[in-house]
């Protein structure tokens, strides 16, 4: 099949699924809805594999399959096609999206079967995938933005899926509004780039990127990329716009796995990698990205330490891991960022689905303080969760180890890296190991604190199969990008990942200045792994062996614990500094300006219009002959003007 056809099927299959489920959204036949949706995504996955195989069959410099379905917008020199492109980056993305997506769809059949709105749920999910594919495949920023907004919409719909609960509906709105702020910046970024380069096509933009670094903060590329990055902070939950993601856990757990862990939130990273030639020439933007990424990684990890909701822990963990990705792209390690994006998609989806399985088993109980000792009730879930846990804390040879370690290595060794960034990353990794172990210990290990009325049970096969597949991927997913030092040590395993992405990744121009030895790399690797191991061990002891130790530590750190426990009061600060003043200012404007000035003006205008209208109405009295008279008068006037004038 031609690649045009494949891309069309890839895109349209979820849309068809959405329509099929959407038109019968009142149905509660979970099996039918789930089959349609999962089938649609599976078809997409098959197309993605076929496309990937076609891509592999091409020589590396020609790996770029494009298709343009129609001209979407044409205004003067501004032309946008409904064009889609499959190249090395988007091929990986579509594989992740459709692959992980189909697993999560499958899982959802089991997870949502008791829900009344299951058909609507699957319709939304398919629609999300359609938009995500547009986002990923779109060949111009505008096409990407369509998907960008579309996934935002679906995210909103799915977070507020149980909208009868006003807190959940509010969480949806919070996500939506926070994203809007980022989107506004994204649009401004697009304006700047279009103004500068005259195109929004990403391929052309990359080709047009200047070769000289832009050292100024106000350069067009710097400003444009900075704005795009602010857009990315909204979508990918970075400081300062990360606040929506933890709340987004109000949605069904598979949604959290798909949208808020594996796919949508990585869109920002993907976008930056897409446009890496532009970002490379703006070192200031890169610096900002790296710092924001590192700060987010640490900050979110610290908050994660104190959370007691299983999904909130995972949410902060996601924010933290996204911070790693941004750290990677910020120091110029775009390949590493993409690598971590992929491995993170595997193990975080796994853990979310695992948490879903736990919640399902616990009858919608999400508080880890009320769990414990679930290992014996949920053996499969526990086992796969362990695989995810080992991956996220960076234990070799699990997937997370390779990607996280590569990021840390680049943070240190890259010309745009810094030792402080590495330290931040390492602290983040340590904290991650600690809170993830805490999560494991409180949930699965130790003594049971489960309520007597709850009888945990293992989930059905339809839910555990995705867990197993993702667990496998969490183990082997990292093997495609084994660092040189290890591969040389073990044998001669090529680094597929770097080779694959190489044609699309711009090398940092100042790369070859400092030489780093393999010893340094081994040393850093050892340090981070041992730090993580130590903190994991500490956490394990603290939460399983010595009951009460955690409280002691918390008491010892008193105010700091309180600060962290309350998520640094960020939400409160936003309310106090931005939202409340805005609301009161708006209210004042309403009471004084609106009522006294605008309303009165509009009343006057209304009176004027009404008066004029009643006059005109008197002309329009249904008397046809009078209408004819107006016509004649008009002709007379026009004719006399023509004759006289």
């Amino acid at each position: 099949m031609s690649h045009q056809m494949l891309i069309a099927i890839l895109l349209l299959s979820p849309l068809v699924g959405f329509i099929l489920n959407g038109v019968r959204f009142r149905s509660s036949n979970y099996l039918l809805a789930g089959s349609i949706a999962t089938g649609a995504v599976a078809v997409s996955f098959a197309c993605a594999i076929a496309l990937f195989m076609q891509l592999v069959g091409l020589p590396p410099e020609q790996r770029r399959l494009t298709v343009s379905f129609f001209e979407w917008i044409s205004v003067g020199s501004f032309k946008v096609n409904a064009g889609f492109v499959v190249d090395q980056i988007s091929a990986i993305m579509i594989l992740i999206i459709t692959g992980v997506g189909s697993l999560i769809h499958l899982f959802s059949i089991g997870y949502m079967h008791h829900d009344k709105g299951v058909t609507k749920y699957f319709a939304y999910l398919n629609f999300f995938l359609f938009n995500m594919l547009i986002l990923v495949l779109g060949d111009s920023l505008l096409t990407m933005f369509v998907g960008w907004e579309g996934v935002g919409l679906c995210s909103y719909l799915l977070i507020g899926f149980w909208f009868n609960d006003s807190a959940k509906a509010a969480a949806g709105m919070k996500a939506f509004i926070t994203n809007r702020i980022g989107d506004a910046a994204f649009i401004i970024g697009m304006f700047i780039l279009f103004m500068t380069f005259g195109t929004l096509n990403m391929h052309e933009l990359n080709g047009l990127a200047p070769t000289i670094m832009e050292s100024s903060w106000l350069g067009a590329v710097t400003l444009g990329t900075l704005m795009l990055f602010i857009g990315a902070t909204g979508k990918s939950a970075q400081i300062p716009l990360y606040v929506w993601l933890p709340d987004a856990m109000a949605g069904p757990t598979p949604v959290s796995a798909l949208i808020h862990a594996a796919t949508m939130v990585t869109a920002g990273v993907y976008m930056i990698v897409r446009l890496n030639p532009l970002f490379v020439v703006a070192p200031n933007t890169m610096m900002v990205i790296a710092i924001v990424g590192a700060a987010t990684a640490v900050l979110a990890a610290t908050i994660g330490l104190t959370q007691t909701d299983i999904k909130k822990v995972l949410a902060y963990s996601t924010v933290s891991q996204l911070g790693y990705m941004f750290l990677a792209v910020g120091v110029g390690a775009f390949g590493a960022g993409m690598f971590h994006l992929m491995t993170h998609a595997f193990f975080k989806a796994l853990m979310f689905l695992g948490s879903g399985s736990v919640i399902h088993a616990m009858h919608e109980e999400q508080d880890i303080r009320k769990m414990g000792g679930l290992k014996k009730y949920l053996p499969i879930t526990h086992f796969t969760f362990v695989l995810g846990w080992l991956a996220i804390i960076g234990m070799p040879p699990f997937a997370g180890f390779f990607s996280k370690d590569e990021i840390l290595w680049f943070a240190y060794s890259s010309p745009r890296g810094h030792i402080l960034l590495w330290i931040a990353g390492a602290i983040g990794a340590t904290l991650t190991a600690f809170y993830m172990t805490r999560l494991m210990a409180l949930t699965f290990w130790g003594s049971s604190r489960v309520d007597k009325s709850v009888h945990p049970h293992e989930s059905p096969l339809v839910m555990t199969i995705p867990l197993m597949v993702l667990g496998l991927l969490s183990v082997i997913g990292g093997w495609v990008g084994i660092p040189h030092v290890i591969s040389e040590f073990v044998g001669h395993i090529p680094n597929f990942w770097e080779h694959w992405l190489e044609p699309l990744i711009t090398k940092l121009p100042e790369a070859s200045q400092v030489a780093h030895s393999a010893t340094e790399e081994w040393a850093l690797m050892g340090v981070s792994v041992s730090l993580a191991s130590i903190s994991a061990l500490a956490a394990f002891i603290m939460y399983t062996k010595k009951a009460g130790a955690a409280d002691k530590v918390a008491n010892a750190f008193g105010p700091v614990y309180k600060l962290v426990d309350n998520k640094y009061y960020v939400d409160e600060a936003y309310f106090g500094v931005i939202i409340n003043p805005l609301v009161s200012a708006s209210r004042d404007l309403w009471h004084y300006v609106d009522v006294n000035v605008i309303d009165k003006a509009t009343y006057k205008i209304t009176d004027l219009v009404r008066g004029g209208g009643s006059f005109v109405r008197s002309l329009q009295n249904g008397n046809m002959q009078q209408y004819a008279m107006y016509v004649v008068l008009g002709v007379v006037i026009a004719l006399s003007y023509m004759l006289v004038g």
Binding site: V635, L639, L643
Partner: protein, 178 residues
């Protein structure tokens, strides 16, 4: 004064007088008969302009069919002299009459200025070829150059026929009294 000139003036005056009586007669039947008279004289004017076929069609279609229908309908209605043949309102009536008068003046003035400016330029054609050829040319124009319009008119007539039958057979629609 040649015969042609005499005939033109005769027909012009006949046309205008009968047209005036269409508007001024208070009995609609007289109006209709005057209109038929107008149609006939317009047909005669077509003859002076050597549009013989159109003159015939004018007689058959307008004078023969359309106007007869008018007259029949009027006679069916059995309307007497109208007490109020003209619409009320002296002011608007004055405006209407004035507007029409000015319009007529303007058009006549425009036509007049058309000659006086010497822009008429169009040569008065030599005696047109025989009318049989003219009719043939007319039909060729109709069926080659304007065939789409012709077909569209056919469709229009069909629609009109259906609509008219539906309208006249309806028992009063939403305003039915019974």
């Amino acid at each position: 004064m040649t015969a042609d000139v005499f005939i033109f003036w005769f027909l012009a005056i006949l046309t205008i007088v009968s047209a005036l009586s269409v508007v001024l007669m208070t009995n609609p039947i007289y109006s209709a008969l005057s209109l038929a008279m107008t149609m006939v004289s317009v047909a005669a004017i077509f003859v002076t302009l050597q549009a013989y076929f159109l003159a015939g069609v004018q007689l058959i279609v307008y004078a023969g069919a359309v106007m007869v229908l008018f007259v029949m309908v009027l006679m069916l209605f059995d309307l007497k002299n109208e007490l109020q043949a003209f619409s009320r309102g002296k002011f608007t009536g004055a405006i209407k009459v004035g507007a029409v008068g000015i319009l007529a003046g303007l058009i006549v003035g425009a036509v007049g200025s058309f000659i006086m400016a010497g822009k008429s330029g169009a040569p008065v054609t030599p005696e047109a070829s025989t009318s049989a050829d003219a009719t043939k040319a007319l039909s060729e124009h109709l069926f080659f150059n304007h065939v789409f319009g012709f077909e569209a008119l056919g469709v229009l007539l069909l629609v009109i026929a259906v609509g008219t039958v539906a309208l006249s057979r309806s028992k009063g629609g939403t305003h039915a009294k019974h």
